[in-house]
């Protein structure tokens, strides 16, 4: 079943993430992909995540497709201008890639090529508009194309951004520009997330809650301090601390599973996007404990 059809079927949709490595050794990444095969509705392939140069998302999407997984091509506006983006979208389409996640992309300042010229010729909202026109047989300038794309396009949102109002206005723009699904930044406060969903439910889009696996109390504190839009509540940090060093990861898996279960049981949103960040092999365990496998 395709990613889009999974939503239409009404099931609780689950996606996770595969990060292309730096360098051509893809053994480990393929191993993770193999573990996820058959368990997910789709798998995101990141696009030079955190502005760190790696294998391009499109190549890995194609490999996953050949393995029988359903990839979501993450596409940022940091490294390509509007010609490059459209050209890559057409390329992805003929390779059989059906899903695309449109993002602006972390600034080069965050990565390992800080001297790079940031492109940002267009940004996330405009990229969604571009996908829309390619789907309708025209390039963004309105030129007729020979054959159109048929992407299922999505976007990201940070429900805990502060201030949240401009973020929600941008969310609305993304909906208007054609986003069909949203994967959110990591959420840890389900009650607060419900407020966002109440707003988002006004729009005909699917919402996948972002679940980032907490691997240690230190990681939680780090994210609270340095990652915009992520708030790990103190009681969760205490819970991990109480488990000690040995039990931290296991507790993190429990927390993620518990949140997923609550989101599903209370029908809060349409599914989850699990980001294990370096612990992709733990995704099946999270899903199992959440009762998804």
């Amino acid at each position: 079943m395709s990613f889009k059809n999974a939503f239409d079927s009404g099931k609780f949709v689950v996606t996770a993430e595969v990060g292309p490595p730096k360098g051509t050794d893809i053994k480990e990444m393929l191993h993770h992909a193999e573990m996820l095969k058959g368990k997910l509705d789709a798998v995101n392939v990141t696009d030079n995540q955190s502005a760190v140069m790696r294998i391009c998302s499109m190549a890995i999407c194609k490999l996953l497709l050949d393995m029988g997984l359903e990839p979501i091509l993450q596409m940022t506006c940091r490294d390509r201008n509007r010609i490059g983006l459209q050209s890559d979208l057409l390329g992805a389409s003929v390779l059989g890639i059906k899903n695309v996640l449109c993002m602006t992309g972390d600034h080069p300042n965050a990565g390992d090529h800080k001297e790079a010229k940031p492109v940002y010729d267009v940004e996330s909202v405009q990229l969604l508009g571009i996908v829309n026109s390619l789907n309708n047989g025209k390039d963004m300038m309105g030129n007729e194309m020979k054959g159109s794309t048929n992407f299922f396009q999505g976007a990201v949102v940070t429900p805990e951004a502060n201030p949240v109002e401009p973020q929600l206005m941008k969310f609305e723009k993304k909906v208007k520009a054609g986003a069909k699904f949203f994967q959110t930044q990591a959420i840890y406060d389900i009650e607060k997330f419900k407020e966002f969903v109440k707003f988002a439910r006004k729009f005909p889009v699917k919402i996948l809650a972002g679940i980032v696996l907490l691997k240690s109390a230190g990681m939680a504190n780090y994210m609270n301090k340095f990652v915009p839009g992520i708030r790990v509540p103190q009681d969760l940090i205490d819970e991990i601390k109480a488990a000690g060093k040995e039990g931290a990861l296991d507790t993190g898996i429990n927390i993620a599973a518990r949140h997923i279960k609550q989101l599903q049981d209370e029908k809060i949103c349409d599914g989850v996007h699990i980001m294990a960040i370096g612990a992709e092999d733990k995704v099946p365990a999270i899903m199992e404990r959440a009762g998804l496998l």
Binding site: P118, Q126, P163
Partner: protein, 223 residues
């Protein structure tokens, strides 16, 4: 004004190591205000060069170094000093440097400064970049705050996920341009305007090298 910063002196010395005599050209406008090309800086440069065993044949602070003809006229009295010098050092912006390149075709010309940005002077010797000279102004749509300049990504449709308590992900020293715009639009009752999707920017409005010939336009209008 055009904001400049002094280049590293050792780097400059490396660039000019093969020359013995120099003529210095400063600028009384931006460079003087930036402390990179006014009278005091010129005096200091002369002393520094002489301390390195170099000869300074003359020095002059042009009124407006980017005015080619005006600077040409101003430099006439320095004909001999300019003829004598092996090399010209320009202590203003990249535009001023290229004025000298145009006026003295046979002399090597070196910049002593890096040219940084078009800046607003917020206080004495404090400068902020607020306009990127993009060629197509959008301030009418953004409450008068330019996101092309104030946002490191130049976003046109609102803040990215990196916005953080009003600060930017790139640096906590940067105010999030879109939070500023949001607050301003709210204050002036224009929040509804923020809902409109901004189309991709027309970057062809700034096709390098830019040229503007008002004189020709006026003459055409007369016809």
């Amino acid at each position: 004004m055009i904001i400049t910063a002094k280049r590293d002196f050792q780097e400059l010395m490396e660039n000019i190591k093969n020359y013995k005599s120099f003529f210095l050209i400063g600028c009384s406008e931006c460079a003087a205000l930036c402390g990179t090309g006014g009278e005091p800086e010129m005096k200091a440069m002369k002393e520094a060069l002489e301390a390195e065993g170099k000869k300074v044949t003359g020095a002059f602070v042009a009124k407006t170094g980017c005015q080619v003809l005006g600077t040409k006229v101003e430099l006439k009295p320095f004909k001999d000093a300019l003829a004598e010098t092996e090399c010209i050092l320009v202590m203003s912006c990249g535009a001023g440097t290229q004025t000298a390149v145009e006026l003295y075709e046979d002399k090597p010309v070196y910049p002593t400064n890096d040219t940084l940005f078009l800046g607003n002077m917020t206080r004495l010797q404090m400068f902020d970049e607020r306009c990127s000279l993009c060629g197509k102004c959008i301030l009418d749509k953004t409450g008068g705050i330019c996101p092309v300049t104030a946002c490191p990504k130049g976003l046109l449709n609102g803040p990215c996920g990196g916005t953080n308590e009003g600060k930017c992900e790139v640096s906590p020293d940067i105010e999030c341009a879109w939070v500023r715009i949001y607050n301003r639009m709210k204050r002036i009752n224009k929040l509804e305007d923020m809902r409109e999707i901004a189309k991709p920017k027309d970057w062809s409005a700034h096709k390098k090298p830019m040229k503007l010939n008002i004189r020709e336009k006026k003459e055409e209008a007369k016809k």
